[in-house]
Subunit: 301 residues, 4 copies
Amino acid sequence: MQDLLEDIAARALGAEDRGKVADYIPELAKVDPDQFAISVSTADGQLFSAGDARTPFSIQSISKVFVLALALGQVGEALWRRVGREPSGQSFDSILLLEREKGIPRNPFINAGALVTTDTFLGSASPREALGALIRFVRAASDQDDIHINEAVAKSELETAHRNFALAHYMRSHGNLLNNPDLVLGTYCHQCAIEMTCEQLALAGRFLLDTAGAPSLVSRERKRRINALMMTCGHYDGSGDFAFRVGLPGKSGVGGGILVIAPGRGSVAVWSPGLNSYGNSKLGTEAMEIFARETGWSIFG
Amino acid sequence: MQDLLEDIAARALGAEDRGKVADYIPELAKVDPDQFAISVSTADGQLFSAGDARTPFSIQSISKVFVLALALGQVGEALWRRVGREPSGQSFDSILLLEREKGIPRNPFINAGALVTTDTFLGSASPREALGALIRFVRAASDQDDIHINEAVAKSELETAHRNFALAHYMRSHGNLLNNPDLVLGTYCHQCAIEMTCEQLALAGRFLLDTAGAPSLVSRERKRRINALMMTCGHYDGSGDFAFRVGLPGKSGVGGGILVIAPGRGSVAVWSPGLNSYGNSKLGTEAMEIFARETGWSIFG
Amino acid sequence: MQDLLEDIAARALGAEDRGKVADYIPELAKVDPDQFAISVSTADGQLFSAGDARTPFSIQSISKVFVLALALGQVGEALWRRVGREPSGQSFDSILLLEREKGIPRNPFINAGALVTTDTFLGSASPREALGALIRFVRAASDQDDIHINEAVAKSELETAHRNFALAHYMRSHGNLLNNPDLVLGTYCHQCAIEMTCEQLALAGRFLLDTAGAPSLVSRERKRRINALMMTCGHYDGSGDFAFRVGLPGKSGVGGGILVIAPGRGSVAVWSPGLNSYGNSKLGTEAMEIFARETGWSIFG
Amino acid sequence: MQDLLEDIAARALGAEDRGKVADYIPELAKVDPDQFAISVSTADGQLFSAGDARTPFSIQSISKVFVLALALGQVGEALWRRVGREPSGQSFDSILLLEREKGIPRNPFINAGALVTTDTFLGSASPREALGALIRFVRAASDQDDIHINEAVAKSELETAHRNFALAHYMRSHGNLLNNPDLVLGTYCHQCAIEMTCEQLALAGRFLLDTAGAPSLVSRERKRRINALMMTCGHYDGSGDFAFRVGLPGKSGVGGGILVIAPGRGSVAVWSPGLNSYGNSKLGTEAMEIFARETGWSIFG
């Protein structure tokens, strides 16, 4: 395993086309595009890493997985009255289907659905309380204390969140947002600004493994279902492509990170800031394709 | 296993809401809605069944899986220049995205994509030759000789295929159909009219298993990828829901059949003619949900 | 003319199906649905009225005509770089085409386009200054001093303007809104809350007539073009229907008012609070159909 | 008038950017792009022309105006149950709204709507009979005998009519096409292949004038309504632009012709084969803009 990761990291370092770093959030645009890391936390508790695996990066939309788990913990399956479970066939911030479907987002991993999930998790708590609970959850999942929110990124994100404000107001107009859009967006931009290292993220993903040593933060049934959602909806309009090429459930973020779950085998985190046309890490996706092929960890046979 | 299947069949027989039999194809509308069958062909070669497992039914869109395998066999990955690999977020016969994406269908399991796949498989052969090769493939996969095309169903389907003709002409206008729409539709309606029993279908699904005794009709890599496509796109606009509830790749048909693959474990066929709002077998989906929960065969942990 | 108006008013008073008063703005929902008025200001300066022609009502989207004239006065034809001139084929608050067309609204009379027009008119002025200039323009057009903004309606409107906030933020995300959405919406909700009587509105419409005594607030070329826009886009998704049935350019508001221009002949205002399915005054549209047929004022022959 | 037309023709001959001749119909692609003609038939019966006004060209979609008049003559206002009267906000051959609106086209001037109109006009007659009646109508309207269908163009058009076949089959699937798509398309492609000179077209347009000497082929009410439809829907997705710039109802064809009606004043035909981005004659539109400005014939004041 260590050799495989080293090999993958070496190939990534030599790549010519590294994709394009997200530039719509000024703070993220500053990140050095030449970085790469991959970490694997196996079901039996070993941790392997290669590259910049101890450099913190902004997890961005990967936070949607943790918030989904927490929202389901609060309201259970009732969440699905406010958000669907289907791939959207549209880009991550599309407002198209939202109009056709009267304010019910397609799934909790596109932006509109994540805003509803955050609104649900927020409930009647303050953003500070909710974000505290979220950080505690991520720390517990990874058994790592040194995980924080980058306030500068959160602030930068909030200032350029016009599209997300549009989605929030739109859902509010359909009665599918209970809190004020300002509160929801404030919480959302802070959850996206959580910083983790690749090692920490691989460890945190263990809460979705159903193996002996994995943390018991959610039920087995719920783990399966979150994994299923990551498979069909985890990479926006590139979800089918990721399933086809990698064959494992995963969730990407515009910070360049991807969290991948191999049920029964382990949790994998990969990070490279440059993005492909779907808004997912370019080298990260390619690394996961090699990883899945070499380990045979695909869930499809 | 036998007990589980009997139990599932018993519950299905007692169900009050059986969904609605597809009525847009006159010949299919005649089918008795009270029938139900489930068959499992395990990786180690055992066959279990319950219900009307030896009654032939129209496999309809399940044929898209076999034709996809054959088209890939002919042109390889070049197929993906003419059809995508993403869930559509639309119903099975939508023409919406086809306009936005200039005649390239989203995936090979919606009708437009299946027409491109059939057109590819047809190539410069005659429909008769192509259909002959298809039947031979299905017989080889299942090791069963008694599998035929129902001409009356094919004819009934062709006469009411206005929407599919629209899709074919539309793609032709974008240069993404090489044969005449009449030829493609003729072949397509015949492939959909293949009749198989639940037992035969479960046996035929073995070609997507990567286990010792499974037939070697396609490569391991290709099996995985077809399974991945069935997971993300196999149930039209209900694919996310099926992944969420069942956790296994599958392909449905409006005849009420569903073929489900559990990698490493077995191939499952279920049949009940009544459909849910997505156009997938209602009791079949519910049966698969129970089956997956009871066997623990979900690929998500 | 007086007889015709009396006759039309009498028929309106006796109507059974009066449409449905807009209820999404609480203050507007309080209006008595049984009211009706019609006023005509002829090219030669005569004023005819019937019904409640001196009762003030909320002009709502009719204000978009005045603001368009003012925005064109400020930036000229450069406005058309930020907003189109085509009918939308969608409802007044649709966000669909805005996505396809990257934040450029279809025309200045749907809500998105009106927000851009208001943003343009606002420029770097304060909302107070801009609204002052608008009121002065309307007073000058009608030669009537007693025209005011209803603050309670403006406030009520601003509190429920989620959809318009969504549109504003969406365009802001595409760089097509220069001012802060809060400022633009504040101005917009106040312009919509202008109250005028039917008589005042008919008089104000004279600024779009190109006849001897008409006020010279905009050039002849611009009058024609604003009339053309009212013809193709003035009634949202019911514009074609209004052109077909009435044959004159007009602009409706959800307060139940319609301003209609008959070039060379006169300016007509009609008011009845109940709306049809397009969101245009039901009895107002019917009254205008009778009026156009009886007077032969159609511009189509 | 003669001087104005000569001046317009001279400017057109000197134009550098002449637009792009439609090339999707092979026979039309052969037309010499340097041709230009304009003809005016005034209400009082005079005929003025400049340029190649006696060269026949393919009237294409302008035929939709004549067929609409005939279909209304057959079924009256019942036609509007099968086709709408609203601008589409989409290109001429879009299938998008057709899906949302369940097979009811937006208006009779986009291709889908014209197919319904042709289907209505065809009724239970043979294409030969229907086309005979159409040619007789056009000859009567223009009082010109030498008007024919170009069989080579009709044939060329039918062979490449994939998109129109798609529209026809799609509407058939919704039950909104009574005849077989082959019959309707055959008739449609022949009606589009009618050839007329600019002079003949200007004369034929007189049937939409409501003046003393105009032919009485349709009622005054119907003339107005057809003119209204030409104003809001006559130039596809460029209808608003044409109304804005020209201010007169008109109908364009991809052969480069435009028929324009100035109620009470005259009928104008202009022809130049090169098209703009909307698919309307580029120089023809520019010529009409100059013509309307110089004559002051705008219906908007």
